[in-house]
Structure formats: structure tokens, C-alpha cells
């Protein structure tokens, strides 16, 4: 019972803390697993589980509202089970990915069916300038969202590793695989949400340029960010120059060249 409680707490601190503290990354396995280990009295095992899972879930990011998997649940449970099995980390590794994929689906359900319906209240409170109402709702939604989620590790630890394993085993392999496939595709939804905010026919071509660079040059994102920034700056400089030409077609500000009068606007564009 204590074990179940503290693992649930560790997971809650992870997922809820991540959002409360400004995308603080508390929900990453490298944080959740040692925390669970600490509370369970074996921090070393927690560290090892955390390191292993952090590597396994390195590619799992959280963009828009879609993700590949939810790793903190897996981190908490894996720590608990590994400690029970005398610190043997290797035996729990095979179940962490299925767990994380399943965790994500459950998280999505809470998000959609619990948080979704509550959100309309924000508008009604706002209309009445009911600031207390907004604040309470804001934090209540936060609590209920992640507290519900924390029930999963609570019961999972309570019933024990065997039950969890048998539950996982009872999910047909083809379904489990399907969830993994879906998990790998889910970031597409995040991309689509970003696209919806960014897209415009006239500049859509740049989306493809980012894709082709990544697909065929396989650069780290930071290199693409630098290249993208260079492109954006060069384009903005030309736009600025044209803007000026148009508003003051007499002036001699053409060459975007080496030495022209730096007025305030240029200053802004650095």
C-alpha cells in the first residue's frame, strides 16, 4: 500500500509538476525513476532505471498535444518492479514501452473526456469577471487531470508486477503493436497543429524545404534552426527593402547594401 502510494506520488509529481512549473521536464524518466526509488528506499536502482528509460524514451517529445508515449508512468512502475525483484533492471525493460504507449492512451482519454468538457466554464467565468472562478478552475483541472492519471500506477503497484504483466500479455500482440505504430505516428498531429498556426499558401514551400533537408542531409535540429534563421533573415531584409522602396520610391535605399542610413526600423530588425 505504501509502495503504491509513493509510486503514484512520484508519477503525479512528474506529470503535474512538469506542467505546473513551466515545462520543467519533471516528467522525464531521469527524474521520476530516481524519485520513486528514493521514496521506495532504493535510489540507486531508481537512478539506473531512470538512465535506461531516459535513453529509451529520448525520442519521445511532447509537442502540441500529441506524443509517442507517456514515459513517466513507465518510469514509476519500472522502478517499483525492479526494486521488488532485487534491483534487477533488465527484467522490467521489455514492459516499459508497451506501458508507456498504454499510458499515453489513458492520458489522452482523461484529456479529452474529463478536461475537455470542463473548459467551457472558463468563458462563462470570464464573462462575469469571476476571477476567483477562473483561478480555481485552472488549478482544479490541473489536479484532477494528473491525479486521475496517478491512479493507474497506484493500482498497478497494488496489484503487482505479475498482474500488470498478465494484463499486458493479455492485450493481443497485434493490438499492442498497433498502439506502438499509432504512437509513432501521433507526433503528426502535433505537427499538424503547428502547421495550422503557421501555414499560408505563399510560404508553404518552406515546410517542404525543412522536410527535404532533414530527410536527405539528416542534420541535427540546431543546424537546421541556424539555416532556417539565415533564410528568414535574408528574406526579411529583402522584404524590408521592398517595403521601403514602395513607400518612398524616390529615396535611394535600394542595395540593402553595406552602408545606408540606419533608421529606427532597421535597428529593430538588427
Amino acid at each position: 500500500m505504501y509502495d503504491a502510494l509513493v509510486v503514484a506520488l512520484a508519477v503525479f509529481i512528474g506529470v503535474a509538476g512538469h506542467e505546473l512549473l513551466g515545462m520543467a521536464m519533471l516528467s522525464r524518466p531521469i527524474v521520476v525513476a530516481p524519485l520513486a526509488g528514493l521514496l521506495l528506499g532504493d535510489i540507486q536502482t531508481g537512478l539506473i532505471v531512470g538512465a535506461s528509460l531516459e535513453a529509451i524514451f529520448m525520442g519521445v517529445v511532447n509537442i502540441g498535444i500529441s506524443s509517442t508515449a507517456e514515459p513517466s508512468l513507465a518510469a514509476g512502475l519500472a522502478t517499483a518492479f525492479a526494486i521488488k525483484m532485487g534491483g534487477n533492471v533488465d527484467v522490467v525493460i521489455p514492459i516499459v514501452f508497451p506501458l508507456a504507449v498504454l499510458g499515453l492512451q489513458l492520458m489522452n482519454m482523461i484529456f479529452s473526456f474529463v478536461c475537455g468538457p470542463m473548459a467551457a466554464k472558463f468563458f462563462s467565468f470570464a464573462k462575469e469577471d469571476n476571477q476567483k472562478g477562473i483561478i480555481n478552475l485552472h488549478f482544479f483541472m490541473w489536479f484532477i487531470h494528473y491525479a486521475l492519471y496517478a491512479l493507474i500506477p497506484f493500482f498497478a503497484v497494488l496489484f503487482g508486477a505479475d498482474v500488470v504483466k498478465s494484463v499486458l500479455d493479455n492485450i493481443p500482440k497485434v493490438i499492442m503493436n498497433g498502439l506502438t505504430v499509432a504512437g509513432n505516428l501521433l507526433p503528426a498531429v502535433g505537427m499538424a497543429m503547428l502547421l495550422q498556426m503557421l501555414w499560408s499558401k505563399k510560404i508553404a514551400v518552406w515546410f517542404f524545404s525543412g522536410a527535404v533537408i532533414m530527410a536527405y542531409f539528416n542534420l541535427p535540429l540546431i543546424a537546421i534552426a541556424v539555416i532556417g534563421a539565415i533564410i528568414a533573415i535574408v528574406m526579411a531584409q529583402r522584404d524590408l527593402q521592398l517595403k521601403k522602396m514602395q513607400t518612398a520610391p524616390q529615396a535611394n535605399t535600394i542595395t540593402a547594401g553595406t552602408r545606408t542610413i540606419d533608421d529606427e526600423e532597421e535597428d529593430f530588425f538588427k
Binding site: G22, L47, H138, N184, G210, K243
Partner: protein, 273 residues
Amino acid sequence: MKLGQQISKEEKKLVRKMFWRSMTMYASVNPVTMGGGGFAYSMMPFINHFYKDKNDRAAALERHSQYFSTTIPFASFIMGTAASMEKENSKKPGFDVESINAIKTSLMGPLAGIGDSLFWGVWRVVCAGLAINLAHAGNILAPIIFLIMFNVPNYLVRYYGGILGYSLGSKYIQKLYANGLIEILTKAASVLGLIMVGAMTISMVKFDTILSFSMDGKEILNVQKILDSIFKGIVPLLISLGCFKLLQKKVGVIKIIFGMVILGIVLSLLRIA
């Protein structure tokens, strides 16, 4: 221009309050308003300071409860900008209130694209790489170093972003908007954002079909190879664009997500993936 020099002490205090509140922006994340609740919560100090009339406050709160989504470290920059516009609005009678949410929505996309890739794609990976090594060596400071290393730039960007947004807002944004320069800025940021999202589409959305045809034990057709020779990452690209089309047709995000889960299971059942 030194950051924030033309902001009064009192205003700085307001910005600082917003900074702390913005931390929780996604606490009430939900499929309808995303961070809208948190945005309104973060704007309250300003709203209460600028508007004395209850109706004005209600109007402002309603404005800022709307759908909003961007990456947390850049959120306060937009809040600061919006706050400076609320200030204008509270003073000038003829102010175009619509422009406040127009700016918010035009900035949130580009900044999300840029910020997500930098903070999730680059910086988190660097920090985690280091922390994994520490943890493997049994160092109990691993999680703490990880959190500090990641969050120092995270918080600094959010802190100074707020100040920058508010001071730029009061000095520039209005003007830029008026003479059309904001379009240039937005376009540039969007271009960068689109490039990053394009790159992330390839690197984060994963799909490999296991479909292949054999004859007499020899593989004669590896579908993934064909797909790769047409265009590497063509499936992630098409799926992302498909989701985007659905979103544009007002299909809800939640529906799309569950559709994707079903798609995954179907593909698995058909032994395609």
C-alpha cells in the same frame, strides 16, 4: 536599447507577476482552449491594473481565455506584448481591440515551431545526454543537475521574454503593425517555424511499413524501399499533411488522435506496419 529601461517600476512588478503565473499556463490544458485558461490567469494582474470597470475586465478576460498554444518559454513574450496592447486600449478610446488577439495568434504559431524544436529537440537532448551518464555512474545529483541545466535557460527566456514583449509592445509593436512591418516579421518567423516543423515532421513522425513480397523465399519487393526511393519520409509527410487537412476541415483534434490509434491498430492487423 537596454531591456525594459522605459518600463516603470510598477509595471515591472506586474510583468514579474505575469512571469510567475505564466509558469502554470498549461496546468488547465484541454482540447478546447489549450492554454487559454492559463493565459487569462497570467493576464489578471495587468487587467486589474489597467481597467477599473468590471465590464472592461470581463471583456479582457474573455479575450484572453480564447484558444492559445505556444511553447512555454516563449509564452510570456506574447503575454507581455498583449499586456502592452491592453494598456493602450485602456487609454485610447478608439483602439482596435481585435488587433490584440490578431497579434497573439500570429505570434503563437511561429514561436511554437521555433521554441519546440529548440527546447524539446535540442536543449532537452543535450541535458538528458549528460544526465544519463551521471545516473549510470550512480550520481544521485543526476536528476537535479538535469532539471537545473534545462530550466535555467527555460526560465531566463521566459523571464526576459516577458519584459521584452512588454517593452517592445509599448514602443514598437503598435507602430510595426500600423505600417505593415509586423507582416515582415511574422512572415520571417513563420518561415523559420515552417522549416523547423518540416524538419521535425521527418525526424519525429516515424513510419516503416513491414510490407514486402517474397517468392521462393527471396524478397522481391520491399515496399519501404520503394517508398524511400520515391521520397524519404514520404509517409510521415503525407500523414502530417493529412492531419492538417482534417484540422482545417474543423475535425477535432481528439477525433484525429483516436482515429490515429485506430489507424495504427488497423495497419497492425493488416500486417502493414
